[in-house]
Symmetry: C2
Subunit: 354 residues, 2 copies
């Protein structure tokens, strides 16, 4: 199936594009009434595990917001679950939790990184179904959490401000930490390869908790594993799908991230995108990086911020519009649509000027 | 009163020092059993407002941990309170809150920045009392929250992950935001000048929430106001006390921060201190920046991390040992003492080598 809109893929490969593509992290989510209608009838994990439901909400932002890509509806914590951890989502009680976190080596050993793809076959089924329904309209993005972020959740048991137990492990039990990180990395690599084989056109690795590490620890406990995953995925899929790496809060390590072999570097809003571009050069594309809070304002402010970003960047080539983090659950859908409209027009005026 | 140990002041002024001084942000706090003993008998705000009690806990880390400076026990939110906001601390319910946050211009107008020093005279009394009791053993640090951080609390009403209302205000009501920020800045400048006149040997400006801003917004809504405060404080005190500026999470703006005229730049742990030094040069001293989580480990790991930092820095001159954020409330006091011991010895081996 030929893609009718392959802007995201061309942007990721630094090819010429007529305009910069736009999508949102967490775009299949609670801010959409169409999503809430599905969610009212099903639990979060039921939606994740039922390909029909996952495909339905994956398509919603394409249909109702006009983004240039779909991203498969899922959760990063399905990987630890497939490795053998019990995953719990208590309704109305915040995010998913692991009631039995991994703190001991014996527990780490009991986790498995084999058979991962089979256990996660519902994700691959959802990808195939979504690709079918997309019918080539836009590319489909697959994704996984980065090993460090999954490690942080697995050791801590849930989201945390400071991930004390995960930190304690890397500071006092370095060998154990690496043992677990290696296992997670193997699982993530297999998982991403399977997503691409099932039809994902491009994949993103989310390192949501990169920003709590020192630059040195980020290198050792996060980036080296992402590098290995990128290598494995490219090797086993003949480099068929571009790879986006988003390490939130790790802007001190930008040059290092840009040099691991990925195609796109995702950036949060605490760095100037044009400065990042000047620093990194033309080797990778950049994704981002409007403050998600901008979507709480007005169409006027949103349009202004998007236009200002395009103006700073200068040319569409190598830029993928996105927020600097996930879209927030109580954003007005009309504001998300205003962002998409503004992004689609942002480089047009610039091109005309030149 | 001549100071017996003026290492912190000499380090801040980039003068030669025999070893790098060490202190902790939030060092007069819950991790100390001696603090908890006082706290058991008095409410937090009672301690803040009673010079005798504030002085007592201010001295504890000097007596029981061996740090090279005392920092006056207080809270950054006493400034908004003095400006006219009702401040509430519900026991066992997290940090202080403003039940009536500032969202409207009419409310902003009703806040006052005059008479601030008189209303906060209990802080100046605590400083005088503490200086007296210190008897010149170590310098006393005064402090204030930075305008942006105070603004964020005042608009939001309490601590928050994303400070949505504060962000909304800077994005949609820029003039109002500047009106309020200017008022806060005037109050902060007066407050810091009064602290120095009362005896504070050095002051620190804490911009705890700098890291949620884009670099552009940080410049406009935070750094410009800190710059003005630094200028006013230096002018009105004949530059008698060095000024430390700590903008947590604003590492993209490091060069800009270092150039506002302050003496010391405080750094969190997400930047390599030696790289920061290489970038900034010799104009200002650097304070930090061990991950606070390191104090949850062992004496061995703590000593290793402190030594590694000294080794990266190369020389004691211009370095003030500290954590990259406040010391955590459940740290073992022995681990804090291990940090202080390690810091006091860290550059000694290096000096002998050279």
């Amino acid at each position: 199936m030929e893609l009718k809109n392959d802007l995201l893929l061309r942007a990721a490969r630094m090819e010429p594009i007529e305009r910069a593509p736009v999508w949102f992290m967490r775009q299949a989510g609670r801010y959409l009434p169409e999503y809430r209608a599905v969610r009212a009838k099903h639990s979060f994990l039921e939606m994740v595990r039922t390909p029909e439901l996952a495909a339905e909400v994956t398509l919603q932002p394409v249909d109702f917001v006009g983004v240039d890509a779909a991203i498969i509806f899922s959760d990063i914590l399905v990987v630890p679950e497939a490795m053998g951890m019990k995953l719990l989502v208590e309704e109305g009680k915040g995010g998913p939790k692991f009631p039995d976190p991994i703190r001991l080596y014996t527990k780490m050993k009991s986790l498995t990184d084999s058979g991962i793809v089979k256990k996660l076959s519902y994700v691959m089924d959802a990808i195939r179904l979504t690709k079918d329904r997309l019918n080539g309209r836009v590319p489909l993005i697959g994704f996984s959490g980065a090993p460090w972020t999954l490690f942080a959740y697995m050791v801590e048991g849930e989201g945390s401000r400071d991930f004390r137990h995960a930190k304690e492990m890397i500071y006092t039990r370095r060998e154990d930490a690496h043992f677990l990180l290696r296992k997670i990395s193997d699982a993530v690599a297999q998982y991403l390869i399977a997503q691409i084989e099932a039809g994902a056109d491009i994949v993103q690795i989310f390192d949501t908790w990169a920003g709590i590490l020192t630059p040195e620890d980020f290198q050792e406990f996060s980036l080296e594993y992402i590098r290995e995953i990128v290598r494995l995925v490219q090797q086993h899929t003949q480099n068929r799908a571009p790879i986006i790496v988003f390490c939130k809060g790790a802007n001190q390590s930008l040059l290092e991230i840009a040099s691991i072999g990925c195609d796109v570097v995702g950036l949060d809003w605490t760095i100037d995108l044009a400065e990042a571009k000047a620093l990194i050069g033309d080797g990778v594309a950049l994704q981002g990086n409007i403050d998600p809070m901008v979507l709480y304002t007005t169409e006027h402010v949103i349009t202004e911020k998007v236009a200002a970003l395009a103006s700073r960047m200068g040319e569409a080539r190598g830029h993928i519009f996105n927020l600097g983090h996930g879209i927030l659950p109580d954003v007005e859908p009309d504001n998300a649509r205003a962002f998409v409209r503004a992004a689609k027009n942002a480089y047009e005026g610039l091109a005309n000027k030149s």
